[in-house]
């Protein structure tokens, strides 16, 4: 993987081992996490740290480039992303512009574990929806496409609402009607795909949580998809239209839905300890990874960003035991737990070439 003007890297080259574990070492603040962030960007189109585009571009530069050569089941794949804060960012796979999340995750399949994952449990619903939609990219082409389409319609619809300035002309009504119909159709496809996914995930997340927390039994974890509207989506959109027009935003739709996570019947977001939340976040990531392995021939690269510094030795060992073989890349600020066989160590300083 080659980095150009990505975060602190003017130019950098990173060559992890194809099999086994590559460890990136170095003091804090030298860009270890940025290496994983760049790889994960290729697979998801955004920063796993939740960072805005401009913060991924080196200060004083107008764009960053990430270029990676991957070998997916013996298919050589060239993935190139251009991050332009002021313009249109885009990703190309084998020189063809990528249209959606399925193509991203197929070209650069990865599963990321990071201390920021805690926010998936403790934060707002967006992180939980993103986790679901990214997973659809691996498992459900129709659902993944619906997620792309819904996102695009929401942006078109929001632009239309803003432009109307609250004035309800015949043109506004007739064009809103059209967007609402499309949103209702793609929105229901998306929601049903997410609901199926949540049901499938709980089979993996529950047991993983049990093993990580040292308490067997998957009845501990509850996972439910929660729609943010009642009845039919088209009816709900029409019922909230005057509200939408007045406020200039989309108030109803799949972009307001949530995934409710429970531990022993208590809502994890509000009623779990931080230790339990951390454990559940790991279990979610493991669950997604194992579900993908069980359903597809894809083996996502594991990216572990300094996760062991947040875990006690017992949980660290439990996490290592959960991780299947394959390519993994990790950064760490503490000694690695037993059980990880390191294939390659790359000091971060070796990545930075003279610009």
């Amino acid at each position: 993987m080659e980095l150009v003007n990505f975060r602190i890297f003017g130019a950098g080259l990173f060559s992890p081992e194809a099999e086994g574990t590559t460890v990136v070492t170095g003091p804090n603040g030298t860009g270890k996490t940025s290496v994983l962030e760049a790889l994960a960007y290729l697979g998801t189109g955004r920063s796993f740290r939740g960072a805005p585009r401009e913060s991924m571009v080196r200060t004083g530069e107008d764009r960053a480039i990430i270029r990676a050569e991957l070998d997916n089941n013996d298919n050589p794949t060239l993935v190139e992303a251009e991050i332009v804060p002021a313009g249109r960012s885009r990703t190309q796979v084998n020189r063809k512009v990528v249209q959606g999340r399925k193509e991203l995750s197929t070209a650069t399949p990865c599963t990321i574990f990071s201390p920021e994952d805690l926010v998936i449990i403790s934060g707002g619903p967006r992180g939980r929806r993103d986790l679901l939609d990214d997973t659809l990219g691996f498992l459900d082409p129709e659902g993944a496409r619906a997620a792309d389409v819904v996102e695009r319609i929401q942006r078109q619809r929001a632009a239309l609402l803003r432009q109307s300035g609250g004035k309800v002309t015949a043109d506004v009504v007739s064009t809103l009607d059209v967007w609402d119909h499309r949103l209702a159709a793609s929105g229901m496809t998306l929601v049903k795909a997410r609901e199926r996914l949540v049901r499938d995930l709980v089979e993996f997340v529950g047991p993983a949580y049990g093993r990580l927390a040292g308490s067997e039994g998957r009845a501990l974890v509850g996972q439910h998809y929660v729609r943010s509207w009642d009845d039919d989506l088209l009816t709900a959109l029409q019922a909230h239209r005057s509200d939408d027009l007045r406020r200039g935003v989309n108030t109803v739709g799949p972009h307001r839905d949530d995934m409710l996570l429970e531990i022993e019947g208590r809502e994890a977001r509000t009623h779990a300890s931080q230790g339990e939340q951390r454990c559940l976040a790991l279990a979610l990531r493991i669950g997604v990874h194992q579900l993908v392995l069980s359903r597809t021939s894809v083996i996502p690269t594991l990216l572990l960003d300094d996760v062991f510094s947040e875990l006690d030795p017992a949980r660290s060992r439990a996490l290592v035991a959960e991780l299947p073989p394959g390519q993994s890349i990790l950064t760490t600020a503490v000694p690695l737990p037993e059980g990880i066989s390191v294939a390659h160590i790359i000091p971060i300083g070796q990545l930075v070439r003279a610009s």
Partner: protein, 200 residues
């Protein structure tokens, strides 16, 4: 970096669609190298196309020397069926199929609020005026097979169906997210043949 006429040329080229700063520089330096008469042919072609080519007053296709385009002026074309497209280039794609013998209506884009394009920015009122004039019985909407094109197709269908016009849409089979102008004539021909009425 560059100044004077060279800078001006690079700037103008860079304003063209699909041409970034690097390509603009490359083309500008290429033009510097070519024989003078080649450069004149290029600049003449640009001037002449602007002087002699207009948009058809009826369908907004490209028209050469006259108020109407060649298709609108052709009595042999079926005046009861029109094909509604986003762009004059799409007419070329549909014509290549040899499967359509009616006339056209160029909207000049698709609904796209993010780019500030609503019904007012498209030739929608002009389309309604043509329907009002009476002759048109069927409209085939051949907007691009992407989200904005699909939304535009539905918008047109909801507008024209109450006026007694049969509104149909190309059968699926075109690459989703693509542009009509890149579709090969066989695929597009099949899509035309298998067109379906849009439910509104």
């Amino acid at each position: 970096m560059y100044t004077g006429p060279l800078r001006a040329l690079i700037d103008e080229l860079g304003r063209l669609p699909g041409i970034g700063p690097k390509s603009a520089q490359r083309i500008a330096f290429h033009i510097l190298k070519v024989p003078t008469e080649d450069a004149h042919r290029l600049s003449d072609a640009i001037v002449v196309v602007k002087e002699r080519t207009t948009l058809c007053e009826q369908c907004f296709n490209v028209a050469e020397g006259g108020a109407w385009c060649a298709i609108c002026s052709d009595d042999q074309r079926d005046g009861e069926v029109i094909c509604v497209v986003e762009d004059p280039r799409d007419i070329v794609a549909v014509e290549r199929t040899n499967q359509f013998h009616g006339r056209y209506h160029v909207l000049g884009g698709a609904l796209n609020p993010l780019e500030g394009i609503g019904p007012d920015q498209l030739k929608v009122r002009e389309l309604l005026a043509r329907i009002d004039a009476g002759q048109i019985r069927e409209a085939i909407v051949c907007t691009n097979p992407n989200l904005e094109g699909e939304a535009t197709a539905m918008y047109v269908a909801r507008l024209l169906t109450p006026l007694g016009v049969i509104v149909s849409r190309l059968a699926s089979g075109l690459p989703v997210g693509g542009d009509l102008e890149y579709a090969d004539e066989l695929t597009l021909g099949r899509a035309l043949e298998g067109r379906r009425r849009i439910e509104v």
